[in-house]
Symmetry: C2
Subunit: 301 residues, 2 copies
Amino acid sequence: MTTQPGAILDLGFTERLSQVRASIEKRLDELLSESRNERDLVALAMRESTLAPGKRMRPILLILIADGLGHRSNCALDLGCAVELIHAASLVLDDMPCMDNASLRRGRPTVHLKFGEDVAILTAVALLSRAFGVIASISELAPSIRTQLVELAANAVGMKGLVSGQFQDLRDGQRSRSPEQIALTNNLKTGVLFGAIVDMAWLISNSDERVRAVLQNFALELGQAFQMYDDLCDNCPDSGKDQGKDVGKSTFVSIYGVDKVREQLYTHLANAERNLRQVFDDADMIAGFMAMVFKKATITR
Amino acid sequence: MTTQPGAILDLGFTERLSQVRASIEKRLDELLSESRNERDLVALAMRESTLAPGKRMRPILLILIADGLGHRSNCALDLGCAVELIHAASLVLDDMPCMDNASLRRGRPTVHLKFGEDVAILTAVALLSRAFGVIASISELAPSIRTQLVELAANAVGMKGLVSGQFQDLRDGQRSRSPEQIALTNNLKTGVLFGAIVDMAWLISNSDERVRAVLQNFALELGQAFQMYDDLCDNCPDSGKDQGKDVGKSTFVSIYGVDKVREQLYTHLANAERNLRQVFDDADMIAGFMAMVFKKATITR
């Protein structure tokens, strides 16, 4: 491992962040090394879709929060990478012709365009299975913690999370929706997985229930902020994704307009940070990372 | 639960089998009861695809083998149902237009035809997640057993199992293949999940290593037999599936012809049964169930 437990606390922001980032990239590569078979397109697509440059927001948050809660082992790294595998699987499927029909992701052609729809589906299934397998086999954690982590991940993916969010978005997104409905869908699409991430960090750190509740509020605010960020970036030329996919879709931007949504995003981010600072004496690292991630959406164009 | 632990040993074959079957149907219904939301098509498709009449070969085998190994709780039922959820997910995806493009499954329109391709994909993802969640939460089992069971399931689904088998079949099935290549693909498509099932039964029964190896041979033989059965039934009008999907595909039937394959199927079944009888003093129940399942393929037409 590049990062020694605890060592990231002694470095400056940029250096610490790039250490965490490098450890994630290395571990993702290792976790997918069994699939390093050039003849096998599914193996290739698993690696390409996951290892393509991404923000790594989910694993970074999981690692930083676990670190902040006093967790001192590399379990958070494996857990964060498992969540990133789940996230990569969801992106591969969201891009399919029968879903968002996207052609560009992380600046590259989408998996179904490059490898075929059959490979895209099998890639997502293989990534999901790998994620559950990774979580179940983190040997430094007590098995009773690991089973709870598997349950957390299963709930975040299934009918209480990503699957429901994507379904609501596909089927109701083209109709007129109330702000409450949009917020609910956004929470399922993004917030629930953030919720699972903070719960995972909390579980492996053996922290108290009060901390869990505050971190859940943080995740909820962050999820809403992130979906607004995503909507605001629908026309960003440097997003690495297709532009203008939201045209005709009912989003907060279509209801309230760009300026109001940017204002709401600020509010959600501020609320998220307030929750963070209730838990951590020093939340500067996580707050700094959030500011960095959301920077693009908060610049007025 | 309908079946009391151990009680199935005291009944006649037909009665015992229908008790096991009823307990599986009831438990599958319970496990999917949270998805009983008529407005939610994914929830509906999860229930319809899983609860449609099926052979329930995988859960029945798991329950009977665990029972034979002296396991006396209902864990095998939950585990068997989790495997059935995985199996149902794989069928939904295999039927998709970009895979086998099937219109009929278990006598009903395939999920993508009835609900749309997007719903089909989300249904499979939700079923897979539910399966992992169910395994992780079988409270009667020690967490250290549960984590091993999650790993077994993850491997059986991913690059070492179903995903690889389906990929090889899709991409190589239309080319000329050697019998060895066909056997390898068939093992990945069917045998690996059977292997996971016997390993699961073995794990929860706390049996010795020798038993595990013999049961693995049983699973290997059964997997080969089952894929031959599937190929032989490609033209059965009562299969509940599209007929003639294998036309132009390289299978054992296309290489050796129906009679030779039926002969090989007999051999694999006999080998499977011999392995069974090495483990169990009384293997009549499982052997009887296998004979029943394979009956259709062994009748000369």
